[in-house]
Every structure is written in structure tokens, then in C-alpha cells.
């Protein structure tokens, strides 16, 4: 029996065109049904040039203006109720299989980025123990990456998601460079990869450390903003 949609579990007929059949090639294997695919609407219209959030105009947003730097993030999806539902099940309930929903999407998004070294945001050892996976690297299929950052011990007192904006902005640097990170970062264009850009604090902490490691430029890609 054909397995159902990896997200909602419903069985569905993959849409196969006559051209697919005539091509005699292995058929593409869709992981999600049409209804679930429609829940995922990428950001296509105007967006903030700095953080990538969808908005009415293509001017720099208020939050980014307050940062006052020239950091650039790209985001695939708006962080709306559908993305929250996805992250809730994938990250907080620990449904590792849901990585498959985003793998092809991240593959295409990464192909559009210009970089030499991909550095995913790491998770703390405690998270590894309870969740059992890094929600960011699980989206990667065969794209090479460098785990150039590690989470400092005893900094992860409380999950980011339970903090207020003010608390998050005051947060201490949670990352340090992995041993020998400088060797892979030296003079490279580095792309950070994270799940959700909320205040931009985490990604900037990560970028600071990457610059210390000798990177030439640091930009980032997040699944949602």
C-alpha cells in the first residue's frame, strides 16, 4: 500500500502528467498532498531587503532599522499559523519525519543563494538528548555543510520561544567557534541556516562568531520570517 501524505497522513494520488509517463523516467515522489502543499505559500511579493519579511513595500522594516547594521537574511515562508503548526509538530513534538516536507523546498532555496560554506545553527547538547535531532541539519539532504559553531554549555537556560522580545535582545552570546573552524571559514562567503528569524538576535550572535573565525561575508537563510 502507498504511504500517505507525510504531514497529514491522508492517502493521496500523486499527480502524474502524461509527459511524465512518456518520459519513462522514475516518477517524482511527492511527500505531501495537494492540500498540505497549499498550506505552504512562499514569500513572493515585496519584502524587507534586510530581514526578508513579507510586507507591503520593499523598504527596510522598522525592526531592521533599529538594528542599524547591514546584515542580510532571506526567508522562504512568512511565519504564519501554518508554519507555526508545522514547527510545532516538527520541532516541539519532535516529529522527525516532517523534515521531508521541507527538504525539497530548502534544496531549491539553497540553490538560489550565493555562498562558499554553509553553516547551520547548532542545537544545545540538552536539546540533542531530548529531541534527538538538529531541526536545521535534518532539512539538508546532500548539501555539504560545516558545523563551525557549537552552543556554549550552560547558556541555554530557557528556550528562546518562551522569552519576550526584550529578554531575547539582551541574551548573552550563546555560540562559540568549533575547534578548527577558522580553517574552513577563512576568507569564505558563509551562509548561516536557521529555522525561524524572529528578532534577528540569534542569527547576529552566530554571524559575529563566524566573522571572528575569519569569514569574508556572512549572510543567512531561514525557513520562515
Amino acid at each position: 500500500m502507498r504511504p500517505g501524505c507525510v504531514w497529514c497522513g491522508r492517502r493521496f494520488q500523486p499527480q502524474i502528467s502524461l509527459a511524465d509517463l512518456l518520459r519513462w523516467a522514475p516518477l517524482p515522489q511527492p511527500q505531501v498532498c495537494v492540500a498540505c502543499a497549499q498550506r505552504l505559500k512562499p514569500i513572493t511579493g515585496p519584502r524587507c531587503p534586510a530581514c526578508g519579511r513579507a510586507q507591503a513595500t520593499a523598504t527596510i522594516c522598522y525592526d531592521c532599522e533599529r538594528w542599524g547594521d547591514d546584515f542580510v537574511n532571506h526567508a522562504v515562508f512568512p511565519y504564519n499559523s501554518d508554519l507555526k503548526a508545522y514547527m510545532q509538530q516538527y520541532k516541539f513534538q519532535g516529529d522527525y519525519r516532517l523534515r521531508e516536507v521541507m527538504q525539497p523546498i530548502l534544496r531549491r532555496a539553497l540553490a538560489r543563494e550565493v555562498y562558499d560554506v554553509l553553516v547551520p545553527i547548532p542545537v544545545a547538547a540538552e536539546t540533542w538528548r531530548t529531541r534527538g535531532f538538529n531541526q536545521v541539519t535534518a532539512w539538508l539532504t546532500d548539501q555539504p555543510y560545516q558545523q563551525a559553531l557549537v552552543v556554549r554549555e550552560a547558556t541555554k537556560s530557557r528556550p528562546q520561544s518562551s522569552k519576550t522580545r526584550q529578554e531575547r535582545l539582551r541574551a548573552q552570546q550563546p555560540f562559540q567557534l568549533a575547534p578548527n573552524a577558522a580553517m574552513v571559514l577563512q576568507n569564505q562567503r558563509v551562509l548561516l541556516l536557521d529555522d525561524v528569524y524572529t528578532t534577528g538576535r540569534t542569527i547576529r550572535h552566530a554571524a559575529q562568531q563566524i566573522y571572528l573565525g575569519g569569514a569574508e561575508t556572512v549572510t543567512s537563510l531561514t525557513l520562515a520570517r
Binding site: Q89, Q93, G94, D95, Y96, R97, G132, F133
Partner: protein, 436 residues
Amino acid sequence: MGDATLWFGRRLPVPGPATQPGKPALVAHHQQWRCQRCQQVVPPGDELPEHVPYCRQCLNLGRLTAHTKLYTITEPNRFSRVVDGGLTWQGHLSDHQQRAAQELLQRVRHQESQLLWAVTGAGKTEIVYPALAWALAQGWRVAWASPRVDVCLELAPRLARDFAAIPQAVLYGGQPVPYAYRQLTICTTHQLLRFEHAFDLVIVDEVDAFPLAMNPLLLGAIDRAQKPQGCRLLLTATPDRQLQRLVAHHQLAVTYLPLRYHGYLLPPLTVQLAWRWREQLTRGKLPAALMRRVRRYHHQQQCFLLFVPHVADLAPVVQVLRRLGLTDGTTVHAQDPDRQAKVQRMRDGDLTYLVTTTILERGVTFPNVMVLILGGDDPVFSTAALVQIAGRVGRHRDHPRGDVVSYCQSQTLTVRRAQRMIVQLNRRGRQLGGRP
């Protein structure tokens, strides 16, 4: 492991290292992993890195992996005895209700499982009270479970008021109050997965409702939550064919109550043909007969519910109604975050109509409402759903009659079965002196 009462009659994952006591949550059997909480097979590929299988079927109760252990303390029924089972309800039952209530009580005394088949608006909750009070007075642990969270939410305040002397817990996904060990538990059937041989009596309210019907996961949950020597009481207005077969073959004891508490019969389900209504709708039109009817309701300030098959039908239908000048209505569906609020505004008279999917088919009561069904022949409307929808009408003794009209492309078997069920119930009701 902290407060021991948390583990009484429950089956919970043990936090901390694998050296803790408990049984493995996932057990390998014939080269398949099976979850010990929901009893479902873990399909190959549902695994974490390092090939650690985990169960996705009951994931929303907290993830169980092959490394998790489950722990239970045998239910000790550690409750202080309350006189009269804590019943503080002051109302009284009609003669028919009284007879049904006594039948239920007798079977519960003999720990016999049974079905109460009572029409919509029969007052089935109160009919259960004497049996429930007796069970609680014996020190039994009781669960009142329903597949529908709306039913639980409507029930909980009533039971809190009518059994004021009994400590109660209300459990559903996203509940605001954490679990506590209580003699009476009101919960969704899904929550029963967390229990093991806890309840002497399990009452299953709206037993035929989605998602319980034909769902082996939830049916198994009821089996495991009930003590082996315990019994259960199933409540429904619209038993499915499987339940009806059990009754017909004398495998399940049944009590009928074919008459509403106010003594009036069920309003019949009328069918009107509406040719190609969906095509009409794309051109911004509704069937002419339906438009005439809603205009009349509008003039009379009569409230109504208009059921449509799919969420996608809601917006076009409400647009047509608004263009007709019916501006004081809105739409509801299952994922609507404002569902409760909109239902309340309808009850308060702020709204005169709701266009809705089957989500309002049961568990919600309006004192004086008419019901229209657009596309009643669509497969989303099962026989039970149609009878339940019809049952929204005539609930109050001041407004015991009303219209139930289904606009269909064709007379389907499902619609005819629903009409037949209402006719049969009314035939029985008439024998009890029911008034049309």
C-alpha cells in the same frame, strides 16, 4: 517520581535515564514495532537518527520512542466517599426519562455494558445522573468521554454544577488546567490513551461521532482505559449500523428514548430538488426556493443554520446571502479559531444565521432555530450527520417545532435513510404519546 497519584491508573512515559523502572513504550513483535500506548504498528521509516523508531500515531500526547519507558500504578480508587454520589442537581425527570434512567441504573449495578439510544433533545445527560450518582457513591472511578471536544466543553460546567460535591478533571488537547487525580474525569476519547485499567465505568457520549466511529486506535483506548471487570455506557442519538447490529443480535443491552423531553416529535426532514446548485453558486446564485425561504426568515427575524458540504462553499454562499440583504450572519468551520465566540453571538441574538460545515451538527443547542442543508446529498453528510443536523431544530419547549429542509441534486440512499430513521423514531415516540 514525585506525586504518586499522577500514575494511578495511567500509562505515562518516565522522565530521565533508561535505568528508571517501567516497561518499554515500543515493543518489537514479528519484526514490527508496536506502540504500547496507542497499540498501533510503527511503519518502517518512522524513526529518529540512529534508527530509533518513534510513534507518530499518538505523537500529540508526547513522543514515545524505542528508548522511552512507560510506568503505571494500579488504580487504587483512593477517593473519599460522598453521600448520594455528590449529586446536587435539583431538576426532575419526566416519566419517560425516569424509566430510562432506572434501566441504566440497574445495568450499571450489574456492571453490564449498554447503549442509551435517545433522540436529540431527549435530555440524555440528566438521564445518566442516577446511574452516575450510584457509581460515584460506590467509590467507582468514572470517565465521561466524547470524541468531540465541543461536547466535553459543553458538558464539563454542567457536571461541575450538578455533581458539585465530586472532584472532577477535564482533559483535552490544549487544556488550561493540568491533570489531577479525580474521581470523575471528563475528557476526549483521545485522552483515554493515557490511562490503563483506571475506570470502573466509562461513559462514551456521542459514540457514533467522528473521529471515534470505526477508529481502532480510539476504540482500543476505551478498552484499555476501562478496568477488566468494569463496564461502559454508550450514548447516542444516531447509532451506526454496527451498533444497531449488536443491539439486534442481543450482544449489547439497549435503552430507547424515542421522545424529546418536552414530549414533541422530531421535525421531519424535507427534501427539495436543487438542480446544479454548485454551478448556480459560481454565478452568484442560490436555489430559488432557498432564497425565498431565507428572505422569509429574514422578514420574521427567524434564526437559521445553513449547512454546506465544504469549507470552500462557505464564502460564496454567505456572499449571496449578504447581497440579498441578510447582513447579520457569518460562517463557521472546524478550524475557525472564533467558532465558540460566533456560536455564542448567535445564542445572544447578535447574529441571525450561521453558514456552517458539519462541525455544528451536534453538541450545540440554540433555543429557536431553523435548519437548511445545501447539498444534503453530498457524501460528507452521513445518515447520522443528517439526523443530528435535523435534531438542532425544536429543542426548546417554547419552540418545539420548525423546518428542516435539505436542497439536493438527487434523492440519495443516505438522505432516504435519514428520513426513515426520523420516521421510525417518531413512530416509537407517538406510542409514548408524542405530539407532532
